[in-house]
Amino acid sequence: MGFVTDPTAQPSNWVAFRALPEQIGFFSGLLRLFHNPQWNELLYINTCAEHLFESYSEFSEQEIGNRLLVALRSGEIVATGEADYLMFRIRVLEFDAGQSQGEVVFVSRPFAVSLSGVRQ
């Protein structure tokens, strides 16, 4: 995901949402067995992303956008510099003939950061 001030522009810097930790300790893993809302939300976001990859769905785009906005509002994501709009993109890793390659298959519309409400 990335941030822009002009809704017609593209972010110059994209960062991964909830990047994987290097490793998970025993007690953290045990806790995750009982309660792991962020991971399950991430799996749901991945499902939405797969839908967008197959064919455009306004619902899926809105769902991902809403969840990123909530993460921004809660302080989980910190925007660097001026950030009037949030955008996200989907990059698919493909494996073909022993080679892997990443391709951007979807770039979202801009979501206004200043809006306090999240549409459902």
Binding site: L20, P21, E22, Q23, I24, G29, R32, L33, F34, H35, N36, P37, W39, N40, E41, L42, L43, Y44, N46, T47, F59, E63, V70, L93, F95, S100, V118, Q120
Partner: protein, 229 residues
Amino acid sequence: MTLELAIRLSEIILGLAIFQQSLEFIRSFQLEKILGLIRALLAIVLMLGFYPLLVETVLLVTSIVLIKRFQGPYNGGSDTMSLLVLLCLWLSHWAPVGYWKEIALGYLAIQLVLSYFQSGWVKVINPDWRNGRALQQVFAFTAYPVSNRLRMWAQRPRLLLVMSWTVVIFELLFPLALINQTMLIIALCFAAFFHLANACLFGLNRFFWIWPAAYPIIMWFQTRLAEIF
């Protein structure tokens, strides 16, 4: 295991699974938060065994609202299994006579067997699963591994080949566990360990809680089969 005991145990484990899922929704926002709270309270009542038909009816309605909200399951197979267990238990209370009660729960037991067998069949007919490459790609490229260190398992093809075949053989042989109760208990312990491994490696914690909710029912089903044959 008697039918009544199987139903009670299944409802307790189902209640625990729904409670766990609902606590995660309470951390969410808007409709999810409200439904999460309602379902968490209902799950406690279900575990206590009060008004099971009424509680399961409301849980079914809220499950359908959640499916509509997310335009499908939120957490894939675990939501589908939750709904299946809930529906079959609800039907067992709703059934006017014991025969239909047994049909409803027998259906759940068969679905549980198929959930493993069909999964094994899909894997064994896929050459990538037979040579271990499928699991290698899961670790290397998918969103499932829970840490970067786990991603490195993609570079351990021998280990992944052994893991692939262990899972495939277990899943394909699972129906044979119905022959004997001891075999079934061993198979269910292995299945629970398989779900635990999936929770640790891929973060699929909801699967670990919901699949065992159907285990008491398959224990009863095996006893019933032994009586018939």
